[in-house]
């Protein structure tokens, strides 16, 4: 008997597979956005879907983000489950009005009579050498809007599992796709797609004892790399992948920090008013007596996303994370 090696899938392919499986299972699932049809999206996530499901279910819309999301709202009102693609993070901003005033609020304002089960896929984050408006991390805006779930995968398996769950969810989900990881691969087997942990649960990607790195999306692999490098310093770092920013898994995060006594939050978006402030506050509220040092943040600078030739100075990298971990050791040294 010969075993055929499974050809690993990229995150983009896993997302596409999730869309395809969701559309197969549920005829009310519709995919819409700019260039999602014949082209398969600029990142090819929707590759082949139009051919398989036809233009009525995989629709190349006019180029208008508010219109895309606004019409998706109406479609959801009539019982469909639209999955909307925003082409790039910063081009989702024209649709903010629809997202915040309607998508997030419709269930609440109609007292449950008119839920909007729709998914907004937003490729986000930098590190791909994109020009201005192609690298924003907009998660803090979404997190600040009650009524939305906000999730972001860091692994190929999560890309599949979380997207399936997002589409099946009766709540609107902003699904943030770390575009830097679109071409990443891991052990996920495309022949046996399965859902993983549900939305709302964080996962310890690497256990450790010296400190916890709390992170998500594109910064997860960076933190894992930092944890490997930290071994040389004698530090054994735990890495927690949040997976879901709303809802937030206080339990997993707090349990980890109580074990290690030290924490660094790592993300690409700016620190001021960013997700890290919220996370650090939550950790402090729950773990104050367990903390050996203040919760630190390693974030992007508080600047508009820089031009690509300078982005490596902006993005939190291994060295900056290790510097922060070193600062956490003050108590041990003194």
């Amino acid at each position: 008997m010969t075993t055929v090696a499974v050809k690993p899938a990229t995150m983009a392919q896993a997302l596409g597979r999730a869309l395809r499986d969701a559309m197969t299972d549920d005829p009310t699932v519709h995919v819409m956005g700019e260039d999602v049809g014949a082209l398969g999206g600029v990142f090819r996530v929707t590759d082949g879907l139009a051919k398989e499901f036809g233009e009525d279910r995989v629709t190349d819309t006019p180029l208008a983000e508010a219109g895309i999301l606004g019409t998706a709202v109406g479609m959801a009102m009539y019982g469909l489950r639209p999955v909307v693609e925003m082409q790039f993070d910063a081009f989702a901003y024209p649709a903010f009005e629809q997202l915040i005033s309607h998508v997030a609020k419709m269930r609440n304002r109609t007292r449950g009579a008119m839920p909007l089960p729709l998914t907004v896929r937003v490729p986000y984050g930098g590190g791909i050498g994109g020009v201005e408006h192609h690298s924003d991390s907009s998660e803090a805006y979404y997190m600040a809007t009650p009524g939305l779930h906000v999730v972001t995968p860091a692994t190929v398996a999560d890309a599949y599992g979380l997207l399936r769950e997002a589409i099946a969810s009766d709540d609107p989900v902003v699904f943030l796709e770390p575009k830097r990881l679109y071409w990443s691969k891991d052990a996920w087997n495309p022949d046996e797609p399965r859902a993983v942990e549900p939305i709302g649960r964080a996962v310890v990607r690497r256990p450790g004892r010296s400190a916890t790195l709390i992170t998500y999306g594109p910064s997860v692999p960076v933190c894992l790399e930092a944890a490997d490098a930290a071994r040389a310093e004698g530090w054994d770092l735990e890495v927690v992948d949040l997976r879901s920013l709303v809802p937030f898994d206080d339990e997993t995060v707090a349990a980890s920090v109580r074990r290690t006594g030290r924490a660094v939050v790592v993300h690409e978006s700016g620190g001021y008013g960013g997700p890290g402030g919220e996370i650090a506050a939550r950790v402090t509220e729950r773990c104050f007596h367990h903390l050996e040092a203040p919760v630190l943040r390693v974030a992007g600078f508080d600047i508009p996303y820089p031009p690509p030739m300078l982005e490596r100075h902006h993005l939190p990298g291994v060295d900056r994370i290790l510097d922060a971990v070193a600062r956490l050791q003050w108590e041990a040294q003194s």
């Binding site: 009525d56 819309t61 006019p62 208008a64 508010a66 219109g67 999301l69 606004g70 019409t71 998706a72 709202v73 109406g74 479609m75 959801a76 009102m77 009539y78 019982g79 469909l80 024209p94 009005e97 629809q98 005033s101 309607h102 609020k105 419709m106 269930r107 609440n108 304002r109 109609t110 007292r111 449950g112 009579a113 008119m114 839920p115 009650p146 009524g147 779930h149 969810s169 009766d170 709540d171 709302g200 709303v246 809802p247 937030f248 898994d249 206080d250 339990e251």
Partner: protein, 395 residues
């Protein structure tokens, strides 16, 4: 011929096979608003329809007056009156089939009520107890919407979805003249035309967006002209002539139902009262202008038509007015009762699956309410025990 040699409007030199998709002429609105009342066209209209429109007009005006009075008594936070525009409101409601959907703007309470909504439930947004006091599916009326024009793409999406499902449903979306300047107006019309969605847009051009007159809102010859650029017909109608609005909307809806796509209808009307009870319209318009419109009052137009043709007499008018009074009395009475509110409702409908964070906050509020209730009980017991003591000594 080069581009420079072309006469008239600039058009890039087309490639050989290029054909203009449509001749814009049939899409253009007429120069003057379409009218029915007082013209021969009125003879064709079903007298029953005229009488129904009349009754709804009278009720609508009474509703506006009652709601405005309720703002003075503090029972409504705010009310944007549609007095003067009732013809548009009631025609929009009566022209729809039961299975169709209405997408109102914040001024369109009347249309929602004429479609069958409970008059009190239609006012909850403005009273402040609930954002939407009704189940939108029950009468197929989308939530009254305050961000301008954002409901228009919803109407397009819903109509599109209905057609995808094979349902024979049309959506009618209402918007003000000011709302036509919003990006969502443009995007909605464009999507509707590209998708040939069964949707009709009704612009109630009442002259003003709060204080800003139409001339500062658009440079287009008319708002109906905007349709042409999207590839849909534009129609201009006298917005004070309920029969005309009903007819034009009816044709547009039939067009949409037949799969021929959307229509943009501009109804030329006038807002007789201030923008809301909180507005001072003396700052931006002359009394004379308002007076001039009084001569073109939608109720008077209909009354004239009906009496001329012997379709309505004094008794008939009295009966309609009494009906309207009864509706107003009922509205007054029910609005004067305090709504029963449960604070725990704050958390009831944020998510289908509430977050752990919301569950914690819910528990916090529950504890606060329980403590408050205990405090009141104690206070009551204390007050009973010391009922002889002067007020104020009880904490």
């Amino acid at each position: 011929m080069t581009v420079m040699e072309q006469r008239g409007a600039y058009r890039p030199t087309p490639p050989p096979a290029w054909q203009p998709r449509t001749d814009p002429a049939p899409l253009l609105p007429d120069a003057l608003p379409h009218r029915v009342l007082g013209t021969r066209a009125a003879d064709r209209v079903d007298p029953d329809l005229l009488r129904r429109l009349y009754a709804e007009l009278v009720k609508g005006r009474r509703y506006n007056a009652q709601a405005t009075a309720l703002t003075k008594q503090g029972r409504l936070a705010v009310y944007p009156s549609s007095t003067g525009q009732e013809a548009c409101e009631v025609a929009a409601a009566l022209v729809l089939e039961e299975r169709d959907w209405l997408f109102p703007s914040y001024r369109d309470t009347l249309a929602a009520v004429a479609r069958g909504l409970d008059p009190v439930q239609a006012l909850t947004l403005l009273r402040g107890d609930r954002h939407t006091g009704y189940d939108p599916h029950e009468h197929r009326v989308a939530p009254l919407c305050t961000p301008l024009a954002t409901q228009l793409p919803h109407a397009v999406g819903l109509a599109h979805a209905a057609r995808l499902k094979g349902d024979d449903v049309v959506a009618l979306a209402l918007v003000g003249d000011g709302g036509t300047s919003e990006g969502d107006f443009h995007e909605a019309l464009n999507f509707a035309a590209v998708w040939q969605a069964p949707v009709v847009f009704l612009v109630q051009n009442n002259g003003f967006a709060i204080s800003v007159p139409l001339a500062k809102q658009t440079a287009a010859p008319s708002l109906a002209h905007k349709a042409v650029g999207y590839g849909m017909p534009g129609r201009l109608v006298d917005g004070n002539d309920a029969a005309a609005v009903h007819e034009v909307l009816g044709e547009a809806i039939a067009h949409a139902r037949a799969g021929l796509g959307p229509t943009l209808v501009e109804a030329v009307t006038y807002r007789m009262e201030a923008h809301t009870n909180a507005d001072d319209d003396k700052r931006y318009r002359e009394d004379a202008e308002v007076e001039a419109w009084r001569a073109h009052d939608p109720i008077a137009l209909m009354e004239h038509e009906l009496t001329e043709r012997g379709l309505l007499d004094e008794d008939g008018m009295r009966a309609v007015r009494e009906d309207a009074e009864a509706m107003a009395a009922d509205l007054r009475e029910r609005m004067n009762q305090d709504p029963a509110l449960d604070p725990m409702d704050l958390f009831a409908h944020v998510y289908a699956r509430p977050t752990p964070q919301l569950r914690e906050q819910e528990a916090q509020l529950r504890a606060e309410l329980d403590a408050e209730a205990r405090h009141h009980d104690d206070e009551d017991a204390h007050a009973d025990a010391h009922s002889h003591e002067p007020e104020g000594n009880t904490r």
